[in-house]
């Protein structure tokens, strides 16, 4: 790194890497701002010859893309809330209550979180069909919990373990019950961890395509990714600009969420607690 030539090579490589990763996003973004006619041309340029918001307009009016967005929001939020409530309690128990075989439980939880999605689709389809839950949001929420719960629990267990036990004991001596100590002391301190778990859960639910495709059939129940696939296609033409406009409005909330939450995910929040 000391020689200038090394520096140039290093930054050259970094810049090339970043540009090539970002290029697809850029392409999606500018395509969404093109007219249908321009977007379907094979020699479409790097910048729209004429800025047009017609794709966005059409997506929300003609394609009624608001409904799938709301569906996605509902399913993702419900998943996140349920996942948080359950995983906070589970993680706290694992971190504090001296449960036997805790290491084994945590290991199993982690493995469960990485179970291949495609292997789950078939069995779950049969389960939900038997329960009469196909084509419902419930089926999606349940399925997402299978993935978000282990990850959240595992993450939060590690987080809670790092919070000094003294703090809760101090709270209990100060007059708090165990649940009060959890609610007033542990959870506020674990906010960064809880935010991380929340965002991971939300993104996982928001981005899912496979399960939605398998379980949901009526268009009124489509989530955003499922709607995108069924969007902008007519018999004669693919409307890339409309698809890409839908992709942009689907991605934007997530990007904003992560950017905003970044401020909350600051480590070292326990600084000053002990010593």
């Amino acid at each position: 790194m000391s020689k200038p030539i090394n520096k140039i090579l290093f930054y050259g490589f970094v810049i090339a890497f970043v540009l090539s990763s970002l290029f697809p996003f850029y392409w999606i973004f500018i395509t969404s701002l093109k007219t249908s006619a321009e977007a379907s041309q094979i020699t479409s340029g790097f910048w729209p010859s004429k800025l047009s918001f017609s794709a966005y307009n059409t997506v929300f009016t003609q394609d009624n893309f608001l409904q799938p967005l709301l569906n996605s929001a509902f399913v993702s939020l419900a998943t996140t809330v349920l996942s948080l409530i359950t995983s906070v309690l589970a993680a706290y128990s694992l971190a504090r209550l001296g449960i036997k075989g805790k290491g084994l439980i945590l290991g199993f939880i982690l493995v469960a979180g990485f179970f291949p999605i495609i292997a789950m689709v078939g069995p779950l389809f049969l389960v939900f069909r038997t329960l009469g839950l196909l084509d419902s949001f419930t089926s999606l929420i349940f399925t997402y919990l299978i993935y978000t719960l282990p990850i959240s629990t595992w993450l939060l267990t590690n987080f809670f373990s790092q919070i000094p036990k003294d703090l809760e004991e101090a709270a209990m001596v100060d007059g708090a019950s165990r649940l009060q100590a959890l609610w007033k002391i542990v959870i506020p301190i674990a906010v960064p961890g809880i935010f991380t778990a929340a965002i991971l859960s939300f993104i996982l639910a928001w981005n899912d395509f496979t399960f939605a495709l398998s379980f949901i059939s009526s268009p009124s129940h489509f989530t955003a990714p499922l709607a995108i696939v069924n969007l902008g296609q007519s018999q004669f033409q693919v409307f890339y600009n409309r698809i890409d406009a839908a992709v942009v409005v689907t991605t934007l909330p997530i990007a904003l969420l992560v950017l905003l939450a970044q401020k909350k995910i600051i480590s070292g929040l326990t600084a000053g607690a002990v010593k």
Partner: protein, 400 residues
């Protein structure tokens, strides 16, 4: 009326470790009681049982005459200062102080009044709106104290609250805590491993060793009448000099032989320790505090003073006094206890060096004008009336 009573309290941890064994004592109203002892002797365990943070294996614990063995910490009317301070990092100092009161659902105005009062007692007014991370170690310690005193509880529990402070601040806080405790008149159970802290702060001091209570007494009484070798060696700095000797009674008194020297104890001295007679012709351990040794070239003759010879190995001039380290031809009175204490006090090397080769080390406290020099063979006068004698097998003091 007793505020806290422990009756045959024992704690055995799930892994079989005895934390505390058969501990009994009661604290009077407003009393400052210190638990002291080497690392792992069970001080924290005892304190945590009183707090309700550790289950009591057997025995009975009463606070304000009510048995609280199975009462949750929050209902015991206690406040605790943790060694780590355990300040709530997400709350301002003000909210840290108010937290126990808020849990009691106290009206807002009253909370504010009490927080303001605690803050003024501890000088926290300036920092009420800071977070714990923005405080110095000393300030954190004060906030931890403040959170305990706003409660106006029946008992304060403190687990080595000063051990994270630097030496100067520690001395300052020591007297401040004592002052506040006296002012508030709240019974306080205070844990420390520092015997100086114990002696200076406690109304009474309980000395623990390996989960057993050794002695509970006023600091002066502990110092003057230690129950056993352990307490004798643990209390006092520098430690009591302990040597092995053989006692031989005759018509006028007794001869205490050690190495190639003899200390003559007249009848007046032996009558202070009547049961010493039953150790006639047996080996015992005898102890002399460093301040009961006098520089023969400075001290006036006194019939109770007996002379011994020793070689100076090191001189620590402290200004107000000189600590004379000497070696003497004798066996050091070393038991496993004493080794443990020496290790704690960082004096293991000199102790081990003196083991086996019948060269024992000792310390004398001489006035600064003493002219003794290193490597010199000097004459030291022993005040025999203040000597201590111990059973070499049991370690018990020999008094009545």
């Amino acid at each position: 009326m007793a505020t806290v009573e422990l009756e045959h309290i024992s704690k055995i941890y799930p892994n079989g470790t005895a934390g505390v064994t058969d501990l009994s004592f009661s604290m009077q109203e407003g009393e400052f009681l210190v638990l002291v002892g080497p690392s792992g002797c069970g001080k924290t365990t005892a304190l945590r049982m009183v707090a309700g943070l550790e289950e009591i294996t057997s025995g009975s614990l009463r606070i304000n005459n009510k048995e609280v063995n199975n009462v949750a910490p929050k209902d015991r009317d206690i406040a605790m200062v943790f060694q780590s301070y355990a300040l709530y990092p997400h709350m301002k100092v003000r909210d840290n102080l108010a937290f126990p009161l808020k849990l009691q659902k106290m009206p807002k105005e009253e909370i504010e009044k009490k927080v303001a009062r605690a803050a003024s007692i501890l000088g926290l007014e300036e920092i009420l709106d800071r977070k714990p991370s923005q405080l110095s170690g000393g300030q954190r310690q004060r906030v931890a104290m403040g959170r305990a005193i706003v409660r106006e509880p029946a008992v304060f529990l403190m687990d080595e609250p000063l051990s994270n402070l630097d030496a100067k601040l520690r001395v300052q806080m020591r007297s401040e805590i004592s002052k506040i405790q006296r002012q508030l008149g709240v019974a306080t159970l205070y844990v420390t491993h520092d015997q100086v802290e114990a002696m200076t702060m406690g109304d009474r001091v309980a000395v623990l060793k390996n989960s057993f209570l050794q002695q509970i007494d006023s600091p002066q009484r502990l110092y003057d009448h230690p129950n056993n070798l352990f307490v004798a060696a643990f209390i006092g700095s520098p430690s009591m000099n302990l040597f092995e000797g053989e006692i031989e009674f005759n018509s006028t008194g007794a001869n205490l032989n050690f190495g190639n020297q003899t200390i003559y104890l007249d009848n007046k001295v032996t009558s202070l320790h009547p049961s010493l007679r039953s150790f006639n012709q047996r080996r015992i351990v005898f102890g002399i505090r460093p301040e009961d040794l006098y520089d023969a070239s400075l001290a006036n003759q006194n019939p109770n003073f007996q002379s011994i010879k020793a070689k100076v190995s090191l001189i620590e001039a402290l200004g107000s006094e000189k600590l004379i380290h000497f070696t003497i031809n004798a066996n050091a009175g070393i038991t496993d206890d004493i080794k443990q204490i020496a290790e704690e006090k960082g004096a293991m090397d000199s102790l081990l060096g003196s083991q086996g080769n019948s060269q024992a080390e000792g310390v004398a406290r001489f006035p600064p004008r003493s002219a003794v020099k290193r490597d010199e063979l000097i004459e030291i006068l022993v005040d025999t009336t203040n000597m201590h004698f111990f059973d070499i097998d049991t370690g018990f003091s020999i008094w009545e």
